[in-house]
């Protein structure tokens, strides 16, 4: 590092504060709820190398510190040549920004900051705009299957030219949004916020000199990189593997696999996503461009911050990370892929990273958390006048996973986003709903020496004549949050419709559900996975959970081998003798959940690895259908609800051999490209 250790610390503080001031300015002057209240925005300072050297510590979207501006700056330079003072580049295009933007509502801007005619840094801002056109209001729908349905794509272009608004671009933007005024208001606020950064940086240069600014860009990034690397050096070297699944492709199709092989050596980490499924025809692809991208590395950064809480937050954290992500896969899709709900897949990438790191650091990493974020939305006729009243009822999450020494947090999960819930009273004031129950879900936590956090449950009644309930992002209905180090899996998510005169119905995933007066909807989110064998849990801790009502006596006996009885005063207490007897046998709980075990019995990691090898030899357009064909060949032998419903061993074996046969014939077509794939694709899943 070039600077002395005092100046480095002083400038580090000042520059981070500039980034934070930019954020506060944007939040104050921004136009929409996304900016003001959801805080779906951020600002930072970018070095000449295109990486963030100063990033806010606790404002806006922290996870985007892993983004990279290099490709956007290169694209702008290619289009325009040298940039001028007062130019501002705008883009929302995941492909042409090289993954700086990761879905279309995110508007990103970059402004070159000049000193004596030379660019010395860039200011960056992004915000989630209300609407950029596309098929649905707010531009995001999980069922979009190509990016053209998701709205207007803006390659890196100048929204400001030498300090003047580029009216041509602005007119195009306005014409392609359902909320043109709100968008322009937000955009203006963001340009102003980055301008604040320019002014503050100018003052810093006046105080410390331009040489110090150029040095500190490199030093801060190097400093963060070295501390990040020091954290990774504490992880035992080796290669670790893990895979996890999304239930399906945002509500349809077969389970989607995320496979990871992680190698740690010399203070570096390599994430290899080979074996992950091809990109899907739903809006959950992650446009990473195969680089150590924010959405693929979040858990690694979280590990660095967790083990070194004072670590500087900047692009240097990415330096010790390498990524291999096959082109055309879910985690590195081709430019046409729909990406609107890419965070849904990122949740599972995070779980997979958590799982793989847990093998290396069993005492540090928790078991899986709930693994789903479900904003439950009611759309109903507006109370006054025409139109629709669309409100988020609650953003539902599960519990966090247990870890050595600590139970998971009940009813909370910050692993991807950390949103506040809504007061029941404001929901009732603003909708025609009555919230009947909102609380923790009993007996949902994965059992363990340190149990998972309980999931949540929400039950509400429709008081209006009609409406629609949306629960997009529902996940972990099939594959449970897994346990770790002998701990069991949490309960999966569930959604029920209670209609007068009918038996309660479990509905599975819903996109838009029509509801009628007095219908009740009950949603249960997953509990976090447990850590360590549940029979090693202190009986007193199990008793405390029984007293608190989070674990039933039956579950205490079954999952923990603890007999809870009523003592003479009627209070719950532990029967020591019976507990000792119960605990003599130590059955191993299912760490991944029975559904995943059933799935693996047919679709073993080895089979899927081999399938992926074959698929990625095919042209990208054929991969998805070919994959579905091979899976369908096996699924045809299995119950329609597999793997939620089990199958007899014969059926499993039969399905496995059908899989193998289909795979072999796929491999044969690769050897002989002229062969017809028709036979394979005709076998369909029984329903």
């Amino acid at each position: 590092m070039k600077l002395d250790p005092i100046t480095l610390e002083i400038l580090g503080n000042k520059l981070t504060a500039i980034a934070e001031e930019m954020c506060l300015t944007l939040q104050r002057t921004g136009r929409t709820l996304y900016v003001k209240e959801t805080a779906d925005f951020c600002c930072a300072l970018v070095g000449l190398d295109g990486r963030f050297f100063a990033y806010p510590r606790a404002l806006g979207v922290s996870g985007f510190v892993g983004l990279d501006c290099t490709a956007t700056l290169a694209a702008a330079r290619e289009r325009y040549g040298d940039l001028e003072p007062g130019d501002v580049i705008l883009t929302n295009d995941p492909a042409r920004s090289g993954g700086l933007a990761t879905h279309l509502p995110d508007l990103h801007i970059l402004e070159p900051f000049f000193h004596d005619g030379e660019i010395v840094a860039y200011g960056w801002g992004f915000l989630h705009a209300s609407d950029v056109g596309g098929k649905v209001p707010s531009s995001i729908s999980p069922t979009n299957h190509e990016i053209y349905q998701e709205g207007l794509q803006i390659p890196p272009v100048k929204i400001m030219r030498a300090g003047e608004l580029n009216e041509d671009v602005a007119a195009l933007l306005r014409a392609n949004s359902r909320t043109p005024e709100a968008n322009m208001g937000d955009l203006r606020a963001m340009i102003g916020a980055v301008g604040t950064g320019r002014e503050r940086l100018r003052q810093t240069i006046a105080q410390h000199g331009v040489a110090a600014l150029l040095d500190v860009q490199r030093d801060l990034v190097e400093y963060a990189a070295r501390r990040g690397s020091a954290v990774l050096a504490k992880v035992p070297e080796g290669t670790y593997r893990f895979s996890d699944f999304l239930d399906d492709e945002a509500g349809s199709g077969a389970p989607v696999r995320i496979a990871l092989a992680v190698t740690l050596a010399d203070g570096r980490i390599h994430l290899d996503f080979t074996g992950s499924d091809p990109q899907v025809a739903a809006a959950i692809n992650i446009p990473s461009h195969g680089r150590p991208h924010a959405w693929l590395t979040l858990r690694v950064l979280a590990l660095m911050v967790t083990l070194d809480p004072g670590i500087p937050i900047n692009g240097g954290l990415l330096a010790p990370i390498d990524v291999t992500a096959p082109k055309g896969s879910l985690v590195n899709p081709l430019p046409n892929a729909a990406v609107g709900v890419r965070h849904a897949a990122a949740v599972r990438v995070n779980d997979a990273l958590n799982g793989v790191l847990g093998q290396a650091l069993p005492e540090t990493m928790p078991a899986a958390s709930g693994g789903t974020i479900i904003p439950v939305v009611i759309a109903e006729p507006a109370r006054h006048g025409g139109g629709q009243n669309v409100q988020v009822v609650e953003p539902m999450v599960g519990g966090t996973g247990g870890r050595a020494g600590f139970d998971g947090a009940d009813g909370r999960d910050s692993s991807i986003s950390n949103l506040s819930n809504n007061p029941v009273e404001t929901v009732e004031a603003e909708t025609e709903l009555e919230i009947v129950r909102y609380g923790l879900r009993e007996d949902s936590a994965g059992p363990g020496q340190w149990r998972g956090g309980s999931g949540q449950m929400l039950r509400f009644r429709i008081r209006g004549a009609q409406g629609h309930v949306l629960a997009r992002g529902m996940e972990r209905l099939t594959f449970r949050p897994w346990g770790s180090q002998g701990g069991g899996a949490g309960e999966p998510a569930r959604l029920e419709l209670h209609r007068a005169g009918e038996a309660p119905r479990s509905l599975g995933k819903i996109d838009m559900l029509a509801v009628a007066e007095n219908d009740e909807i009950a949603l249960y989110t997953p509990g976090g996975g447990g850590w360590g064998h549940p029979f090693d849990r202190e009986p007193e801790a199990v008793l405390a959970d029984v007293r608190r009502g989070l674990v039933s006596r039956d579950a205490a006996r079954r999952d923990y081998g603890v007999a809870v009885i009523a003592d003479a005063s009627g209070r719950a207490s532990v029967d020591d003798a019976e507990t000792e007897a119960l605990r003599r046998d130590r059955p191993t709980p299912s760490a991944l959940g029975t559904e995943r075990e059933r799935w693996d019995a047919v679709f073993s990691p080895a089979r899927l690895d081999r399938l992926h090898h074959a698929l990625f030899a095919l042209p990208a357009v054929q991969r998805r259908t070919s994959r579905q064909a091979v899976l369908d060949a096996a699924l045809a032998e299995l119950p329609s609800a597999f793997p939620r419903e089990g199958a007899i061993d014969d059926a499993l074996a039969h399905a496995a051999s059908r899989f193998d046969a289909a795979l072999i014939s796929l491999e044969a077509t690769l050897a002989n490209p002229a062969a017809d794939l028709g036979d394979l694709s005709t076998s369909t899943r029984s329903s």
Partner: protein, 723 residues
């Protein structure tokens, strides 16, 4: 001045008391302004905090030879409630909630403390789940009962409550904020059956929408009540023994105070009173010295706090946190900005110099205190630079240890690979620069958040180290002026002595603003004003004229669809004239002020859909607020004798801006009105040390405040002291 002079005064002294961890501060205040305030510090007695208060009071009246009857009022700030919450030492409280909402405290607002750090743990709920009961009672969003328990259910729940091992209980019904009276009745019915356990209605405590926050207000109230009861019973006894029968007032988090009786019923209103008193005292001082826009800067041992005041009034906030739990009663807005005098100076593994966040606290404290501290702190850096005089620290009551300090800082320099002459001193100067950069960053962010320019503000430091660090902070953050009060070390006690009576009232109703709603709002205000005047009368307040009662009505409003409201203030004497149009315009204006735009409504751009043309965006009113202030003292600070051109008491070597200076050392007690001198200089006083940087100069005003400004500030030189 001679004690006898004081005794001849009217029997009208007010005693302000601030109980801290190390010292209990007293100020004897003469509202007539004829006598300068008398300050006293008494070592605190943490095991029995009332004892120090009694001791100090006894000493104060004895030293001033005052008869007990000379004391007109005792105004007291206490952190007992706050400490009980933070240390989890409060009462065992049970909770009864509407059926379906047993987990209200477990889920809270469902956030984790950190998005990145997955080892960060959430707060433990104040009431364990087994002590939460459900009852079949609730209202709908219009306040109509949709479920209500029969006698048998009430009896059953009361029996369950009696079986819990709790001292007190809280009842919270969904939408109860609309029907506090009915909720209170049910609470009383439950208490009747529940033997000795009192049941507090959450809606009665704080009738505002948002069930979790309202529940917490009542739960925290019940949680600290017994401790407050015990403390004040003991204190009343001790005061009685001294023969003082003046009323005891308790300072509150809104910067005011209330009678002991109200404070015992509503201890939740007192928990953040300490910092609030200091801010209010600074604003009062600012008003006298014609400084209307100020930032207070309270630097203590472990951290520093700032507060912003723009319009000669404290800024109130209704979203604070204590120990991870929300507090929604209005409090004076104070935010932490980082380092304190005890913050540790250290070098990380990569050889980078760091200050904080760890602190040596009061025990062992800085190395200089010689109480076993081994790691250098910010205070040790002051000593090394020559800011502090080892011999006369704290008015000569303490001698500082310079040798160990120098060694420790030289070791820091060595770890930074610094060598040569004064390496330890340069390391210390670097550490202070870092601390300053951190604090200035936080201060600037606080102003940026409000859209304010530091160049418009004066920094008002208090606390032990505030005045020491103020010039550095002001220079770095771009505040052009600093005003150092006469006695910054006991400032919170002064704030207590001069506090007004103040209470905040709230009622939520959730309406879209139209003429009917406007009528309902003004009716509600009228009712609340009656309630507020009754409360003032209950406090024993007799209004001499209308001017000493202030009513501050306000509304929480928002555009439909926004998730958070803006607080809009109105003039109390114009309430009758408020119609929907006026209220709407007031909100538009406030919104424009805060966020830079007004949402007048949707304007269709003419693509064939004319129905939406010029639809005004609905404005919603969620909460009606009213604060009432009863002015207790027309406090005026006594004027200072004009100085005759002060000369330095001595000179001392001071390391600033990378080199040694010969700094003039002044004694605060020797400074008179209109005295002026230039930095580098040090002003020493019993309770603090003031640094004046090179390039800055100082001037004393008629009230004894010390004003600092940069030499380039031309207007400063011409300003005359105001009387």
């Amino acid at each position: 001045m001679a004690p006898s002079d004081m005794a001849q005064n009217d029997n009208n002294f007010r005693v302000g008391i601030d109980v801290g961890g190390t010292f209990t501060d007293f100020v004897l205040f003469d509202p007539s302004g004829r006598q300068a305030p008398i300050f006293h510090k008494e070592p605190s007695t943490p095991a029995d905090p009332a004892q120090a208060v009694g001791n100090g009071l006894a000493r104060l009246i004895a030293e001033q030879a005052l008869p007990p009857s000379a004391i007109a009022a005792i105004q007291h700030g206490t952190t007992i409630g706050l400490n009980a919450i933070i240390q989890r030492r409060g009462a065992r409280v049970g909770l009864i909630v509407s059926e379906g909402f047993r987990d209200i405290l477990e889920i809270g607002r469902a956030r984790m403390p950190s998005s990145f750090d997955f080892h960060a743990t959430r707060e433990t709920p104040l009431i364990p789940r087994e002590n939460v009961l459900e009852i079949g009672a609730r209202f709908d969003r219009d306040g109509a009962i949709t479920r209500w328990p029969d006698a048998a259910e009430i009896e059953r729940v009361a029996a369950d409550l009696a079986a819990l091992d709790v001292d007190a209980a809280v009842l919270m019904l969904i939408n109860g904020y609309l029907q506090p009276e009915q909720e209170t009745e049910l609470a009383a019915a439950l208490a009747r059956h529940g033997s000795t356990i009192s049941v507090l209605s959450a809606a009665q405590t704080w009738p505002e929408i948002r069930e979790y926050e309202r529940t917490m207000a009542a739960v925290l109230n019940a949680y600290i009540q017994p401790l407050m009861d015990r403390y004040f019973a003991r204190l009343t006894e001790l005061i009685g023994e001294l023969g003082i029968d003046a009323p005891l007032l308790v300072t509150t988090s809104n910067g005011g105070s209330m009678s002991l009786a109200t404070a015992l019923a509503r201890p939740i209103d007192t928990v953040l009173s300490g910092p609030a008193s200091g801010v209010v005292a600074a604003i009062r001082l600012g008003n006298e010295a014609d400084v209307s826009r100020l930032v207070t800067f309270d630097m203590g041992g472990t951290s520093s706090d700032i507060a912003v005041s723009q319009a000669r009034a404290p800024e109130m906030v209704t979203r604070t946190e204590i120990g991870g739990m929300p507090l929604v009663v209005p409090v004076v807005g104070v935010s932490a900005i980082g380092a304190g005098g005890g913050s540790k100076v250290w070098v990380d593994e990569l050889g980078v110099l760091k200050v904080g966040p760890e602190s040596a606290g009061a025990d062992p404290g800085p190395i200089a205190y010689g109480r076993g501290g081994t790691e250098p702190t910010v205070t040790d850096c002051y000593l090394t630079l020559g800011v502090l005089d080892a011999e006369v620290f704290a008015g000569g009551t303490m001698t500082l240890d310079t040798r160990d300090v120098s060694q420790a800082l030289e070791a820091v320099a060595a770890r930074l690979a610094m060598s040569g002459e004064d390496a330890g001193v340069r390391a210390a100067a670097g550490a202070l620069e870092i601390a300053t950069a951190q604090m200035a960053a936080e201060l600037r962010k606080g102003l940026a958040q409000r859209g304010l320019d530091p160049a418009d503000f004066t920094l008002v430091p208090f606390g032990g180290a505030g005045p020491t660090h103020a010039n550095w902070l002001a220079a770095e953050a771009g505040l052009p002026r600093v005003m150092v009060p006469l006695q910054p070390g006991t400032f919170c006690a002064l704030g207590a002595a001069t506090a007004d009576l103040r209470r905040d009232f709230v009622r939520s109703l959730r309406v879209t603003l139209d003429d009917e709603a406007a009528g309902e709002i003004t009716n509600r205000w009228a009712t609340m004003i009656d309630e507020a005047r009754d409360w003032l009368a209950d406090q024993g307040f007799e209004s001499a004229d209308g001017d000493d009662v202030q009513l501050l009505p306000a509304l929480d409003m928002r555009y439909a669809g926004q998730a958070y409201e803006l607080n809009v203030a109105f003039a109390a004497d114009r309430l009758a004239e408020l119609d929907a149009a006026t209220l709407r315009e007031a909100f538009h204006r406030e919104h424009e002020l805060h966020y830079g735009f007004r949402d007048e409504g949707f304007r269709d751009e003419g693509f064939g859909n004319d129905e939406g043309r010029d639809q005004p965006t609905p404005i919603e009113v969620s909460t009606i607020r009213l604060a009432v202030v009863g002015r207790l003292v027309d406090a005026t600070s006594p004027s200072r004798f004009a100085g005759e051109g002060v000369t330095p008491r001595t000179h001392r070597r001071l390391f600033l801006h990378g080199e040694w200076h010969e700094a003039a050392i002044y004694a605060r007690a020797e400074l008179g009105a209109n005295d002026r001198f230039a930095g580098p200089a040090i002003v020493e006083q019993d309770d603090t040390t003031v640094v004046i940087l090179p390039g800055w100069h100082a001037r004393v005003d008629a009230l004894g405040n010390l004003h600092l400004a940069a030499d380039a500030d031309e207007s400063f030189a011409d300003e005359e002291p105001r009387a």
